[in-house]
Each structure stands twice: as C-alpha cells, then as structure tokens.
C-alpha cells in the first residue's frame, strides 16, 4: 500500500492528509490527521467557574467569542440563573458579529482565491494577493466586512480579541447609545457587501459543478440548534438532527443532555476525537454541523433577504438536504446576510440599551452545560465544579470535532475522483485542501493547537519507505 501525505494550509491551524493506495493504485482510504495537542480540558481543572469564559476564550484567536459565550452559558447553568433579557440580546449581538467576521474571513480571505482563480491556478497567485490583483473590490469588501463584525465585538467587549465581557449570569457592561449608533452607521455597507458576495457566488456556481459534485457530496446526518418554532438559531433553542432527505431524525433535544445522543470515538492517528450520533452507532452516525447543517435543519431563517436566499439554496435539492459540502460557502454567505438583518433588528430594539445585564448568584448546581452555535458549528462546554465553584472536570466538543468524520469522508471522495496514477498534481493538492477548507475547520479550537505542520508532501511506499517528498511555503 502507498501513502500520500499532504499538508493542509489556509485553514485555522494546520492538518495533514494521507491518501492510502492499494496495490492496484486506487484509493483505498484517506485520512485527515490532526497531529497537534494542547489540552485545555486538563489545565482548566482547578480554576474557578468565574475564570472559565476568559480562560477558554484563549483557545482560539479567531473565534474567542464563541468560547467566551458558550463558557458563560455553562456558567449560567452552574449558577442556575436565567440571565436578564437584555443580556441575552447583547450576547446574541456579539455572536452575530462573530459569525459575520468569521464567515468573512473564511470566504474572502481563505477561500476566495480558490473560487475566483480556480484550483488549477499557479499557487504563487492563488492567494488573496492574487485576488486583490484580479478583483480589488472583492479584497477590500472582505476586509471591510470582517472589520464590521470585529467592531461589534470591540464595541461590546471593549476589545476585539479575547474580550472578557460575557460572564456567568450575563455580561459585565451594557451597550451605549454611541456604540449602537456606530454599529448602525456601518450596517448598510456591510449589507451591500454581503449581497454582492452572495450574487457573485450564485452567478459562478455553474463553473464549480465538478467540485460541487465531489467535494464531500454524500448522504449524512446534520445537526444544529433550531428555535422552538423551527427557525434558524445560533444561541438558544434545541438541537435538531435531520437526514439527507431532510427528514427530522430527532428534535427538541435538550443540549444539556448531549452525552445521551452524542458519542465520541477515538482513532490512534488523530488527536481530534470523532463524535457521532449514538443511536446510529460509529461510524454510521456521522453528522455534519455548521452553516450547511444549520440551513438544512431550520425551517426558515426568519429574515426577509436571508429567507429569499434560503429558498434559492433549497432549490439545489428540492425537498431534500443539500449534501454537497462545497455549499458550506453558499450557506456561509446566506448566514452573513441573515446575521446582518438580525443585527439590524437587535439595534432597533430599545431593550438593547438596558443596563440590567447581569444576574447575581452563587454556586447552585455542580454541573453545567453550555451549547451554542459558533460560526463553524455547534459548540459544547461541559463543566463539573465543587461546592465553591472550582472546576473539577471539563469536556469541550467543538464544531471541527463534530465534522471530523465528514471531513475524512470528503478527502477520500476527492482523492477517488482526482487522483490518477501516482502523480500528485497541484490540482489534486489544492482540491484536497479546498475540500477541507469548505468546513472552515479550526484546529486551534479542536485540539487547541500549538505549532504548525510543515508544508510538505511525502509519498510512502508499501513498506513505509519514503518514495518522494515535496515542500512548499505556507
């Protein structure tokens, strides 16, 4: 058996793909390895519940807000409080800002080079630099849209990276009128950018038909939070699981009881666990989370423009779930648009300026689970504490972990379609990376990564000998 080792770049952190060939030269198996480890779950033990939002926000510099909010929700559960309504609205506002900035980073900075310049383009130009040379407006739009999302975070939290703003019981400072007006003033431009990007994607879809067909296009389950009325949700509500036919497999699942329906398998070749839907077993219980799953699970978005876009998205697979992981990009753009609409709604709610933003309480439960939708998918923080609020046990399940089985399936599908003979073409490498990138995995989050994978390709023979090695820059 031969192995092709392919480092993955332009994702949050670095991974490695090995393609395992049989003696007949055909793809037998492909694996997306996560080879880095940090161990936040261990070193948070011994800290207090009050420190957890700020501590776990350090898991990732890209999505600290997701961990901050989820951790605060787990803290709410330990305090056994319902936070004030304005505090929930403010947390929602920050999470929507996070969705906008993270999705903008994924689409404009990381993925647009592939989409705009093609997977076979020279790697020297197939980056955002090449995009800027080709389409200056698109590059600037990406910068401005991401800056808008980050500004929301900064206005609410006092800073854009690692704001220690959400706390168990609520948030530690309200939104000022001046802050609200600053966000509102920039909303129209953000809306224009989101609509332009969506129109661009929809107009270009036909040119990506082959990639859409083979970038992780397979039946699976999908899981996401939905509101009690079935509409799109990112902060509260219940978990729903649908299948590839968009039939509801499970609904109204209490997120706090996730161990009853989510199992976590371990493979010796990856530090990233393999969550699965327990009733279906491992690995048949493979499910996807994130933008694609959220759109497949919800019945409507709940805002005008996003719902119009959602109906066009649904038309890709009438009556069924959209199963092509390539369309994570499409779902991401629709979510940006809908998130901006929801930001507009929140800004016009007078309660958003209320100063009643925190419930005070002591330790009332010895266990707490926080679940919400991070940009990349469902995020779970589960803490066990002692009577004084000192952490005794931590379990984190992040979106990249939920998608682990699907990402492995995706690289296998891409290798099966584009690998021909023993030649590792630039086009194959780029598509393998692109297939993974569609999920926008965050390895910093998933294993809390340190260090970087070397950028190399290694061809290993049947006896494990290295047949060829290839290196390229980050």
């Amino acid at each position: 058996m031969r192995h092709l080792r392919i480092p993955v770049t332009r994702i949050e952190g670095h991974g490695l793909i090995t393609v395992h060939l049989g003696e007949d030269g055909r793809v037998r198996e492909a694996r997306f390895h996560v080879t880095e480890v940090r161990g936040f779950e261990r070193f948070c033990v011994g800290r207090t519940i009050w420190e957890m939002p700020a501590l776990t926000a350090r898991i990732c510099g890209i999505c600290p807000v997701s961990h901050l909010l989820c951790s605060a929700k787990a803290g709410d559960a330990v305090l056994a409080v319902r936070i004030p309504r304005p505090a929930e609205k403010l947390r929602r506002l920050m999470n929507l800002g996070q969705i906008v900035q993270s999705h903008a980073l994924s689409f404009f900075h990381l993925s647009s080079p592939d989409l705009l310049l093609g997977w076979d383009a020279d790697p020297k130009v197939r980056n955002i630099l090449g995009v800027a040379a080709f389409d200056r407006k698109l590059a600037l739009d990406g910068i401005r849209l991401r800056a808008f999302g980050q500004e929301i975070i900064e206005i609410l939290g006092g800073k854009r990276i690692h704001p220690a703003w959400a706390v168990p019981g609520g948030v530690n400072q309200p939104l000022t009128e001046e802050g609200r007006d600053r966000i509102a003033a920039k909303l129209p431009e953000a809306m224009r950018i989101a609509q332009d990007a969506l129109a661009y994607y929809e107009s270009r879809m036909g040119s990506w038909a082959e990639e859409i067909e083979h970038f992780g296009n397979f039946p699976s389950l999908f899981m996401a939070l939905v509101a009690p009325d079935g509409s799109w949700e990112h902060y509260g509500g219940f978990l729903r699981v649908v299948d590839a036919e968009r039939r509801i497999v499970a609904d109204g699942l209490d997120p706090a009881r996730y161990p009853e329906y989510i199992g976590e398998a371990v493979e010796p070749w990856s530090y990233l666990k393999f969550p699965y839907y327990k009733p279906y077993g491992y690995p048949e219980g493979m499910y996807r989370v994130g933008p694609l799953a959220r759109l497949n699970c919800c019945e409507r978005f709940g805002t005008k423009l996003a719902d119009e876009a959602l109906s066009r998205f649904r038309a890709l697979a009438p009556g069924k779930a959209v199963t092509a992981s390539f369309h994570y990009h499409y779902a991401r753009l629709i979510e940006i648009l809908g998130a901006l609409e929801k930001i507009g709604e929140l800004l016009s709610d007078p309660e958003i300026l209320s100063t009643r933003v925190r419930a005070e309480a002591g330790i009332n439960e010895l266990e707490g689970v926080g679940v919400h939708e991070a940009p990349r998918g469902t995020l779970i923080h589960h803490y066990g504490v002692d009577e004084t609020g000192v952490i005794r046990r931590v379990n984190l399940i992040v979106s990249t972990g939920h998608n682990n089985l699907a990402m492995n399936r995706t690289v296998a599908q891409i290798a099966e379609h584009w690998l021909s003979g023993r030649e590792i073409t630039e086009g194959l490498l780029n598509r393998l990376e692109g297939g993974i990138r569609a999920y926008d995995p965050c390895l910093s989050c998933s294993v809390h990564a340190v260090g970087r994978m070397p950028l190399r390709v290694v061809l290993v023979g049947p006896e494990g000998e290295i047949l060829a090695e290839r290196t390229r820059g980050a």
């Binding site: 980056n127 955002i128 910068i143 401005r144 800056a147 980050q150």
Partner: protein, 140 residues
C-alpha cells in the same frame, strides 16, 4: 490624522509594552490610538485614512528606544498577521498610497508568561510615553 498603533501581548511581560503605551496615551483632535496584539488586515482602511502612522512594539535586546522609518515592503499574503511593511504595502496596493510610517521599538528582555515589565523596559516605556505626549500635543 496621526495613527498610533501599540502592539504586544498583555500576558508576556515586556512584550506588552506597545499595548501599554496605547492604553496610556490619550487620543486628541487629529490623533487616534489603537492597541492590538497583531497587525491584521482590518487595520488597512485606518492606515489609508492616516497621514502618519506610528507603530510601537517591543524589541528584544538592550539599547535606547529606536525610531525607524518604515516603508511598504514586499506584499505578503493577507493572513491574520502582517509586519508593518506588509500592512503598508497592502494599504498602497488597495488604496493607491500608504502614509508615512515610523516603527518605534522599546528594548525588552523578559518575554515570560505574566504581567509587569522588567525595570529597564518600564523606564524606557515611561520615557517614551512622555515623549509621545509631548510630540502629539504639539510641544515638540
């Protein structure tokens, strides 16, 4: 408009000196002050709107506070973090021109985990803060 960007990590002792400058330097008419852990692409439009940019960062080693003129360098990939030269070159590429820019570095030697500066960095930072206040206040 003069834009001051203080860089650093608040939990890496002397590394946080640029951030400390940004936190302690007052904004005034025509002067905007930002603190950041890294130079990210979102700063590009703000650079484009500035006439003069002053980056303040820690510099490993001894010696005085250094002022160095920086100009647009090679245009690096637009990722999460950019050097001052890269940020300037992206500004020039996307907006047609880049502002005059200076990189001010403060000597630093303790980059261990924690808060607070080593004595030499503390003295240098306080002196730089006084000088920037005087300069930005029009006294120099």
């Amino acid at each position: 408009m003069i834009l001051v960007i203080g860089l650093g990590h608040p939990l890496r002792r002397d590394d946080g000196v640029g951030l400390w400058i940004a936190q302690n330097l007052e904004e005034r008419e025509g002067v905007k002050v930002l603190g950041a852990q890294e130079l990210t692409p979102e700063l590009i439009p703000q650079l484009a709107a500035a006439d003069l940019v002053i980056f303040v960062d820690a510099r490993h080693g001894a010696g005085p506070v250094r002022w160095e003129r920086v100009k647009p360098g090679p245009t690096p990939p637009l990722t999460h973090t950019l050097p001052p030269q890269g940020l300037l070159s992206w500004t020039a590429r996307l907006f047609g021109s880049a502002p005059e820019a200076w990189l001010v570095t403060v000597p630093a030697r303790d980059f261990s985990l924690g808060e607070g500066f080593s004595p030499r960095t503390r003295l240098a930072a306080e002196a730089l803060l006084r000088r920037l206040r005087a300069y930005l206040g029009g006294e120099e």
